[in-house]
């Protein structure tokens, strides 16, 4: 171990998204005793306290975690509220269908996705990604959906025509990249002799065909 134990543990705490236990820390290090780890954790705790940082080292759920002090929670919530949110897979698929098939009817979209999409349509409408373009003159006068200007903004598209075509999506095959990966793997494992090299070669080509 060439780095101070204390700082290695700090790095663990920093990069983890959940509390980590003393036992876990021990398992990631070689030859450190629980007591030395416990001591290092105590030191860190004392350090953050004396430095009066915005974060503290807390014992939660049987583990240790770096947490911002609760007085900063209002600020952080303000930040998180404006942070980008992800679209669920279902929402993304529904949006994709509308984008590519618009003007699209609800039952058409449901036929493609195979499930009810009422809730998803509502979410997408709320997020201003889709809009109601009108009603189709069919029995029941179903609503017609299309995408919005906001949709173009979010996806950084000049216009709907810039949406890649299905053909273009398919053209981005995977084989070539797999081949390249296989190559790199091979180059990492330096072959010692030529017989080896030759046999590996066959394997590599075998892989790509699968």
């Amino acid at each position: 171990m060439d780095k101070p134990l204390k700082l290695i543990i700090e790095a663990f705490l920093f990069a983890s998204d959940r509390p980590i236990t003393l036992r876990e820390i021990q398992s990631w290090l070689l030859g450190e005793t629980p007591s030395s780890i416990a001591l290092a954790l105590k030191e860190l705790q004392a350090e953050y306290d004396s430095l009066q940082r915005s974060f503290v080292l807390k014992e939660v759920a049987g583990g240790y975690q770096l947490r911002t002090q609760s007085v900063y929670a209002p600020y952080i919530l303000r930040m998180l509220k404006t942070s980008p949110t992800r679209l669920s897979r279902a929402a993304l698929e529904t949006l994709a269908i509308i984008a590519y098939r618009q003007p699209a009817l609800r039952h058409e979209i449901e036929r493609l996705r195979g499930v009810d999409i009422g809730g998803i349509l509502k979410t997408l409408l709320e997020k201003d990604l889709i809009r109601i373009m009108g009603r189709k003159s069919l029995p029941g006068r179903p609503l017609i959906y299309g995408t919005t200007r906001k949709f173009l903004e979010v996806f950084d598209l000049k216009d709907l025509d810039s949406l890649p075509k299905l053909r273009e999506i398919r053209e981005l095959g995977v084989e070539q990249e797999q081949l390249a990966q296989a190559r790199d793997e091979r180059q990492k494992i330096e072959t010692s002799g030529k017989e080896n090299a030759a046999s590996d070669e066959n394997e590599a080509s075998g892989e790509t065909s699968t």
Binding site: D17, L92, Q102, R113, R135, D161
Partner: protein, 243 residues
Amino acid sequence: MDYEVKLEIFEGPLDLLLHLIQKNEVDIFDIPIATITDQYLEYLDVMQALNINVAGDFLVMAATMIYIKSKMLLPDLKDEEEEDPRFEITRPLMEYMKFKEIAGDFSERELLNRDVFVRQIQPYLREQLADEGSQLDVNLFQLMDAFRRIVDQKLPGVQLKLQLQKWSVKEKTEFIIAHLKQKGSIFFHELFSEDQTVSEFIVTFLALLELIHVGLVKALQRTAESEIRLAPSFDENGENNNG
């Protein structure tokens, strides 16, 4: 075959070519084309002997090299103003070397999740937060991929007709709507331009009929002789005025 068969895998013809040039320790500006071409072809033979699928790109380069080699063998017949035929491969090689070097530089940087790590969103913070984000963390590729997934899943009883024609009614529908949005109302003829083919005409016309049919566009004509005017029947947000 007088060189050792130590097979490295090459990404493409330029990669192989560069390797041969380096192995032979020759000047990139004065490539001994005959030697290098021979070795290049031998290499392709080895690859084929080992059942490695030799991509077309390798063969195109082979052809180029053979052509250059033959050109070099005709010393006095060539047009004197012509550049050295070998520059045809020197130039792309130079470019390739340049980006190969940059790629090397890239991989030496402090890469995220290889050399350096960042904080993760702590779940306890997320829990305090209702889903009300305004920005969206999503990109175009994810959207495309989602569509591809849908199309590929082949739900029972669903047949997706993939349109092969160059212009789809959908695209033209959007085009007309965008046009109307921008200009308020337009003359019928504005939808068509002279460089359009008949099939594009028809598709545009079908799109227009569809729009009029669903009530998003109104077609107006003052007298039988006057031009047909097209007006949007939706408001700014695209909502249908008729409800």
